[in-house]
């Protein structure tokens, strides 16, 4: 059995926990319960002809008071950088986190996830920014933890990347 550790990284309240819940249990809640520390979930996916067990480390969101500690990242085979489309600064946080992660564990596959796609009309980040990022070689996906849109695909595509990398 192949097992992979995946970290959910991003600013606070971007929907990290919601995405994991949606992916693992297909449930969503409007209530916001901030994550303290780490919550770990597990889901087995099939990528190609192989079963891969994903250990999802849902880490508390970064804010000005609490930086994400890199010790939680050790041994991760890949990670998501979650961005809340409705908050532009979460993109900056995502990149800060990417730098810190690479500093700590080196280059491992990651995906930029723009969440809350169900309320795209409220987004601060426009479509052009996303296209530019794609152009720069980043893997970019739009998801909605609420509707489930793009969630499965996001996880599958990271799995794929990890197996290739």
């Amino acid at each position: 059995m192949i097992k992979k550790k995946i970290c959910m990284l991003g600013a606070f309240s971007v929907g990290k926990t919601s995405l994991v819940q949606q992916f693992v249990k297909s449930i969503f809640s409007d209530k916001y319960l901030t994550t303290v520390g780490v919550k770990i979930d597990k889901k087995t996916v099939t990528a190609g002809d192989r079963d891969v067990e994903l250990l999802l480390w849902d880490i508390y969101g970064e804010d000005e008071f609490q930086k994400v500690k890199t010790s939680y990242l050790r041994g991760a085979a890949g990670y998501f950088l979650i961005i809340d489309g409705t908050r532009g600064d979460t993109l900056e946080t995502a990149f800060k986190l990417r730098d810190r992660t690479e500093g700590a564990i080196g280059e491992v596959p990651f995906i930029l996830v723009f969440n809350k796609a169900d309320i795209e009309d409220e987004w601060e980040i426009d479509g052009k920014t996303l296209e530019d990022l794609s152009g720069d070689g980043f893997t970019v996906v739009r998801t909605s933890a609420k509707t489930g849109m793009g969630v499965e695909e996001a996880f599958l595509s990271l799995t794929q990347k990890m197996l290739e990398g």
Binding site: M1, I2, K3, K4, K5, I40, Y72, R74, G75, A76
Partner: protein, 651 residues
């Protein structure tokens, strides 16, 4: 490269040849080699220097070492003695240098070792305290003695009840589970998530409380369960343990982890999520140890046995203590008894024994033993007889020899025996003779003795036998007006009885009822019997000892007078008395143990055969009466005179 240099250096290039070239040739050379000149000179310089240039060697040495050590370990072998020597020299010069170097490395390891040692000690200690005195403790003490292990260790081993429920082998960095084993009974969650959380907690603790990379969480406690964690640089084992495992279990975990670590070191380093290589690992399952409580059934049996034992001991000690108290009491009593001297006491093969001296006239030890309620079979006496010189015993001895009547008391003054009271003349004469034979008595004074003799009794006898009581016709009640006579007679009888006692004799008074010759024989017998009984009951009611009397109804068979007139008949309706005197059957002075039997002397006895006839006590009335009835024959007077002669002859 080094070799290359070495080979090219020699004399193959002749030096003198160079010096012989002329200037034009030099010129030409300049033109030909030009700017290379300096390099050529450098080479020349190098060639000239036949040794190895340090500057050059320093450039290639690290590379050379690396190349060589990848081929074989020759360099290691060469370095070994030098390194050892260097360390030795360094320590000899100043040990602090190396200490400073090693402390950061060693200290954590030492600290850890000491901590676990102390923890083990504390566990051992508390186990000792807890079980040191219990029943199980005794069992374990025996086991410790048998196995030559310290008691604390054995106690700990038994008191720890635990089960290793699950063991995780975790990849340290990713927190991914490499292998997970669980006991059959254990309820398990998803091992991956548990392990992930465990790893996260480890990270959290380390981040939150600081500490180096090697400091780590070793134990998590939650309720009855704890998680024991051991780790190397690449892997972690975490064991979920229910209950109290011995600290030794940590070393087992440690060894297992180390073994796995070294076996899979490469796989661990380059772990990419594939757990297949670890799945066949069997070592982890060996750590699923457990120890359970000893079976209750056994201890129940033990308790039953123990209870029985306690009851037995209690039962035994009750009797033992009781007997012992009785024994003490017995010894005490014997000790206080005059005439008994205890020389040795003890207990031998379940029986008490007392050795000592005893005066034959002292209290019988058997009787004293009886009073203490100690079973005679539990006691053995061994008495040596002796004569106590205690005044009581001297007197007792004298009494046993002189056999005085109860009315006599003795007093020993300056070894002269004074006798007081009343006694027969015969006794006084005998006593005076016997007293001389008693050791320790130099004289006998009987001045204070009131001497009485049988003559006094003779007089009383005449008085008694003279007395008659008269009755009206057919009546069994004495005719009135005789009350004074009754009183008189009673006084005579009692006086006579008293005198007889002093003379060591017994009296018997036969009360005989009579009728006149009128009326039927049968009727007369009945009336005469009633008349005699009437008198008997009067005497008894006035306080005379009943055993003095025999009661007979003679009817009209023993008429006192010939009946020629009514007056004669009146006289014949009477009750008459007849007194006899005989020796006492047993002597009150006598002691049960009269081995010596000295001085069995009293006044000359009456023929002993005589006693039996008058021996029937008044309680035997009916048969006595029958006998009297049977004997009621005409030759009665002759019979009477015969017995009379026999009884009083000697007087």
């Amino acid at each position: 490269m080094k070799n290359l240099f070495a080979r090219k250096s020699p004399e193959n290039v002749p030096e003198d040849h160079l010096t012989q070239t002329d200037d034009s040739l030099n010129e030409l050379r300049k033109l030909l080699v030009g700017s290379l000149q300096s390099q050529v000179e450098e080479i020349q310089e190098l060639l000239k220097n036949q040794g190895i240039h340090p500057e050059e060697v320093s450039k290639i040495l690290p590379e050379a070492i690396m190349i060589r050590s990848s081929r074989d370990n020759q360099i290691l072998r060469a370095m070994e003695p030098i390194t050892e020597e260097a360390i030795k020299t360094s320590i000899e010069r100043d040990p602090r240098v190396l200490v400073d170097v090693f402390v950061p490395v060693m200290l954590p390891a030492i600290k850890k070792a000491i901590t676990s040692l102390i923890r083990e000690m504390i566990q051992t200690f508390s186990a000792t305290l807890e079980h040191g005195l219990s029943m199980r403790g005794l069992k374990w003490r025996f086991e410790a003695f048998k196995t030559k292990k310290p008691f604390g260790e054995v106690a700990l081993l038994h008191s720890l009840i635990y089960q290793v429920e699950q063991i995780f082998l975790i990849h340290k960095d990713s927190g991914l589970v490499l292998q997970h084993v669980a006991s059959d009974e254990a309820v398990t969650q998803d091992p991956d998530m548990v392990s992930g959380m465990l790893t996260a907690i480890q990270d959290f603790v380390r981040d939150s409380f600081g500490g180096g990379k090697d400091d780590s969480l070793e134990n998590l406690q939650f309720g009855d369960r704890s998680v024991w964690i051991e780790q190397t640089s690449q892997a972690v084992v975490a064991a979920v343990v229910w209950g109290n495992a011995p600290e030794e279990f940590r070393s087992i975990l440690r060894e297992t982890l180390d073994a796995i670590h070294f076996k899979h070191i490469d796989t661990l380093r380059s772990f990419d999520g594939d757990t297949a290589p670890f799945e066949a690992e069997e070592r982890l399952s060996d750590c699923l140890k457990s120890q359970f409580k000893s079976k209750e059934k056994n201890s129940f049996l033990l308790w039953v046995l123990l209870t029985v034992l306690i009851v037995c001991i209690g039962y035994w000690s009750f009797f033992f203590i009781r007997d012992h108290i009785r024994w003490k009491d017995c010894v005490e009593r014997l000790h206080n008894e005059p005439g008994i001297v205890i020389t040795e006491t003890g207990r031998k093969s379940g029986r008490y024994y007392i050795f000592g001296l005893r005066d034959p006239l002292s209290e019988n030890p058997g009787e004293i033993l009886e009073k203490t309620k100690l079973e005679p079979e539990k006691m053995r006496f061994n008495w040596e007889l002796y004569h106590s010189s205690h005044p009581i015993f001297i007197i007792r001895r004298i009494r046993s020899i002189l056999r005085p009547p109860e009315t006599v008391t003795f007093e020993l003054k300056n070894s002269i025996l004074h006798a007081r009271g009343t006694a027969s003349y015969e006794w006084v004469v005998d006593a005076e003779k016997l007293a001389e034979t008693i050791p320790g008595i130099s004289g006998f004074r009987s001045d204070d003795i009131v001497v009485i003799d049988l003559k006094a009794i003779e007089t009383s006898k005449e008085q008694i036998e003279k007395t008659l009581f008269f009755f009206d016709k057919v009546s069994a009640k004495i005719r009135s007006g005789q009350e004074d006579t009754v009183r008189e007679l009673v006084r005579h009888i009692q006086e006579t009885d008293h005198l007889a006692q002093i003379l060591d004799k017994d009296i018997r008074i036969e009360i005989t009822g009579h009728t006149d010759s009128t009326g039927s024989n049968e009727k007369n017998l009945e009336i005469s019997q009633k008349r005699a009984e009437e008198l008997f009951s009067i005497f008894v009611s006035q306080g005379v000892r009943p055993e003095l009397f025999t009661v007979t109804g003679a009817g009209s068979s023993a008429l006192l007078r010939e009946e020629n007139s009514e007056a004669d008949r009146e006289f014949n309706r009477c009750v008459s008395f007849k007194m006899t005197l005989k020796d006492k059957e047993s002597r009150p002075v006598g002691r049960p143990l009269e081995e010596n039997g000295v001085g069995d002397k009293t006044s000359p006895d009456l023929p002993s055969g005589q006693n039996k006839a008058g021996d029937k006590a008044s309680s035997d009335l009916p048969s006595g009466q029958n006998k009297a009835g049977d004997n009621a024959s005409p030759d009665l007077p002759s019979e009477r005179s015969r017995s009379e002669g026999a009884e009083f002859g000697p007087l």
